[in-house]
């Protein structure tokens, strides 16, 4: 069985959870004997870096040096399409970004340069880019041999549908996040439209959680019969925590790690910190990551006069994330809306007890995590206090949490995906 897969990004160029998930899934599918042609849009040149820096997601680490990954790279057919599509950017932001950067495009490295002359300026519109990407996808649909198409998130849906039309092969679309997760109620209607179009034209829709499944059914009106939840998994190499330096201060450390954006609920983390610091001087808080709300959050923390115990790290790289987990006593993810949320799993794997919001998809698969509503600052404070000060409690969460995460294998998730593949092929 061979699938033509459209994604956003592929290691080592990863900016967010989608890259991690699609990479993990790919690996799991391999272990289930599914062959994959993986297609990603990729701009060539310096603008890529600056864009990543701008949206700087911090919640990702990948085992690039992992042997399995190296093996997989040898087997996979990997295609990059010259394009300015940038993950985690909405059309409005894309226009800004486009104005900021000068596009340099290396034509010769484009596998499709013989078909399409991409020299000159790109369209300044992200939606145009998405359409152009689809155009190339339809050619791929004719040229490549495969059994079905699998497209990850809205940027790839037009490509998936185009390939379906040109090849006549079935299409599976994968909802990692909806426009409602990204933008709250003020959605971009173009993006919403593309998501809806992709799902309507798909033979099956995979959602990363039941939370997302409900949104897809209720807000997009997709037939529940063709929407299936496959929870994400996590396959990180075992971290050697023993070798990590010890925490250089006495206080307990409570950690937030993720993009500092509306959907991650950073202001609730500040509020819970304020609440706890009023009662308990023996805790420090750290907010790791960056994002469009960062400056606002810094000002907010300053105005509450807690910044001697509430720290910011800015964007963190992989080894620093490991170090942060090694120092942490509690990890908190107060997301307002989180289709899945992979970071708590990383924390648990590093033996850090987690407090997560009930509004996150990952809450559906975890037993050994404290679950609270994102707005329930008191509840969150109770949980953090308990995990910081009652050793027996945190011991239980550490031990069982690690075991629980160890059972969330991509191989198992991919098996479900393979079943869906078999269903659509018939």
């Amino acid at each position: 069985m061979k699938t033509l897969m459209f994604g956003w990004e592929f290691p080592p160029h990863i900016t967010g959870g989608l890259g991690t998930a699609s990479f993990g899934l790919t690996q799991g599918l391999f272990e289930n004997d599914v062959d994959i042609i993986f297609v990603v849009p990729r701009a060539y040149g310096d603008e890529d870096q600056s864009a990543i820096k701008l949206v700087s997601a911090s919640d990702i680490r990948l085992p690039f040096e992992d042997v399995r990954f190296q093996e997989m790279l040898e087997k996979i057919e990997y295609i990059e399409i010259g394009s300015n599509i940038i993950p985690y950017v909405n059309p409005e932001l894309f226009v800004k970004e486009e104005k900021r950067t000068t596009t340099t495009y290396n034509e010769s490295s484009n596998v499709f340069s013989e078909y399409y002359n991409f020299s000159g300026k790109y369209g300044i519109n992200l939606l145009e880019e998405v359409s152009r990407y689809a155009l190339i996808a339809s050619i791929l649909g004719k040229e490549k041999e495969f059994d079905l198409i699998h497209a990850h998130d809205w940027l790839c849906y037009p490509a998936g549908v185009a390939a379906k039309i040109s090849s006549g092969k079935p299409l599976v679309v994968h909802m990692h996040a909806t426009e409602f997760d990204r933008s709250g109620e003020n959605i971009n209607t173009d993006v919403f439209g593309i998501e809806k179009y992709g799902m309507e034209n798909a033979d099956m829709v995979i959602t990363v959680s039941n939370l997302t499944r409900n949104i897809v059914i209720e807000k997009y009106g997709i037939d529940p019969k063709k929407v299936v939840t496959v929870h994400n998994a996590v396959d990180f190499p075992i971290q050697e925590l023993e070798s990590m330096p010890k925490k250089p201060f006495n206080e307990k450390l409570v950690t937030f790690l993720g993009r500092i954006t509306f959907q991650k609920g950073p202001e609730y983390f500040v509020e819970v910190a304020k609440k706890l610091l009023e009662k308990d001087d023996n805790i420090r808080f750290v907010m790791a990551g960056s994002g469009d709300l960062m400056h606002k959050i810094i000002k907010y923390a300053a105005s509450l006069h807690i910044t001697d115990k509430f720290h910011f790290t800015g964007f963190l790289k992989g080894p620093e994330i490991n170090r942060l987990f090694a120092m942490s006593d509690v990890f908190v993810m107060p997301s307002v809306s989180e289709p899945f949320g992979i970071v708590p799993l990383e924390a648990m794997q590093s033996s850090v007890p987690v407090v997560i919001s009930k509004q996150s998809g990952v809450a559906e698969v975890l037993e050994h995590a404290v679950k609270v509503d994102f707005w329930d600052v008191d509840g969150m404070a109770d949980a953090i206090y308990g995990l910081c000060h009652y050793d027996s409690l945190s011991k239980v969460f550490k031990a069982y949490g690690k075991e629980e995460v160890g059972n969330l294998k991509w191989k198992r998730a991919a098996k479900k995906v393979k079943k869906i593949y078999e269903q659509v092929i018939q």
Partner: protein
């Protein structure tokens, strides 16, 4: 006799290195030695060394007719000792002429005058000791960080035994009155106040090379012409500026050194003006009246107030958290902690957290190691967190 009073500020802070969250509790080395050395060497070569040489030549040429005054901060002196001893030798040579006055201020160019009297006194004492040790002078004139002044600060300075203090001739303070007189402090009239003529000072310091300025290019003839146009009864023109005006704000190619070199000669030949030191003016001139400054003024930015350093959430928070530590610092005798305490108080750290970038953004960016006020804040607070841990662990 009518007179001109030149005063130059020489200040360099200890800029912080990039100090990350992971450094807290681990690393007590806060300052960016490399960058501080680099900046100091650059300024020494472009500005301090040539200007010291020029001033010495002018004093040799005109004898007792030509005089200038300086305030050099403790943090600048320390860095000169370490990175540019030839500049310090230049200042010592100027001091030896007897034609140069060194003023008192806080050791690290801090904002202590608006927080805590005792802290302020201690820092001024530390500074005057350093001046005495290096230049064999005991300052009698005071100038506060960035010319920060208010009636209260003036009274405090008078209590400390100073007879004269420098301040900004801010429009909102003076109104219709002229800065070109000697004034007194209304709380303690024993303290006399010299006000900066900001128009003529800034013509040299900021507008000298500004091609969009209607009076560009500024020639000695033009400048001296303006001096002669000042009404006869106005007695003293206070030209206060940062020493890096010469060679750094106004680079050598603008002709700033030639301008300054020719200025005294033209003044002597075309006007009745001479040159005086602040301490001479205190003795020789009669004050005209009290000047009321209920709210603190400074020479910074368009507003000429404290908003370059304090007022936004970030600045106020960092400032508050810093001074909350004072009691603990005072209990501690560790010399490294005492030195870091002083260096962390330099007003520059708060200046970098300023968010009013519109009118004076360019000036705030000067030698600013940070990309944004937020970065400046995070970095400073990380350092302060480590400093706090050290204080708590100190036995």
């Amino acid at each position: 006799m009518r007179t001109i009073c030149f005063y130059f500020q020489v200040h360099q802070p200890y800029r912080l290195r990039q100090y990350r969250f992971f450094d807290i509790g681990e690393n007590h080395d806060y300052f960016d030695d490399h960058n501080n050395r680099f900046i100091l060497r650059r300024i020494a070569e472009k500005s301090y060394i040539p200007m010291n040489k020029l001033l010495l030549e002018l004093i040799e040429k005109y004898g007792s007719a030509f005089k200038v005054s300086f305030s050099i901060t403790g943090t600048a002196l320390e860095q000169l000792e370490e990175y540019a001893p030839e500049v310090l030798d230049g200042f010592k040579a100027l001091a030896a002429t007897g034609q140069v006055e060194f003023l008192a201020e806080t050791y690290s160019h801090s904002l202590a005058s608006i927080v805590k009297k005792s802290e302020f006194r201690e820092q001024v004492e530390k500074h005057t000791n350093k001046i005495k040790e290096l230049f064999d002078q005991t300052p009698t004139t005071f100038r506060n960080t960035e010319l920060i002044y208010s009636d209260k600060i003036g009274a405090l300075v008078a209590d400390m035994g100073y007879k004269l203090m420098l301040a900004e001739g801010a429009k909102h303070v003076l109104g219709w009155r002229s800065p070109n007189f000697l004034y007194t402090n209304p709380i303690n009239p024993k303290l006399k106040v010299l006000l900066k003529n900001f128009k003529l000072s800034d013509d040299i310091a900021f507008r000298f090379s500004q091609k969009t300025w209607k009076d560009w290019p500024l020639t000695v003839e033009k400048f001296v012409g303006w001096l002669t146009n000042i009404p006869e009864e106005e007695e003293v023109i206070n030209l206060f500026m940062d020493y890096v005006t010469f060679g750094e704000y106004q680079i050598e190619e603008t002709g700033i050194f030639e301008f300054f070199k020719e200025l005294p000669d033209r003044i002597f030949s075309h006007t009745r003006f001479g040159f005086s030191l602040p301490r001479d003016l205190e003795k020789e001139m009669q004050p005209v009246s009290a000047v009321h400054v209920p709210y603190a003024t400074s020479w910074a930015d368009e507003e000429r107030d404290l908003t370059a350093w304090l007022g936004n959430e970030l600045q106020d928070e960092a400032f508050m958290k810093l001074y909350e530590l004072r009691k603990k610092v005072k209990k501690c005798t560790d010399p490294d902690i005492q030195m870091d305490w002083l260096h962390l108080q330099s007003s520059d750290h708060f200046y970098y957290m300023c968010t009013k970038w519109f009118s004076d953004g360019e000036v705030h960016k000067y030698f600013n190691p940070y990309g944004s006020p937020y970065e400046a804040f995070i970095n400073y607070m990380n350092v302060l967190s480590d400093f706090t841990i050290r204080l708590e662990n100190y036995k």
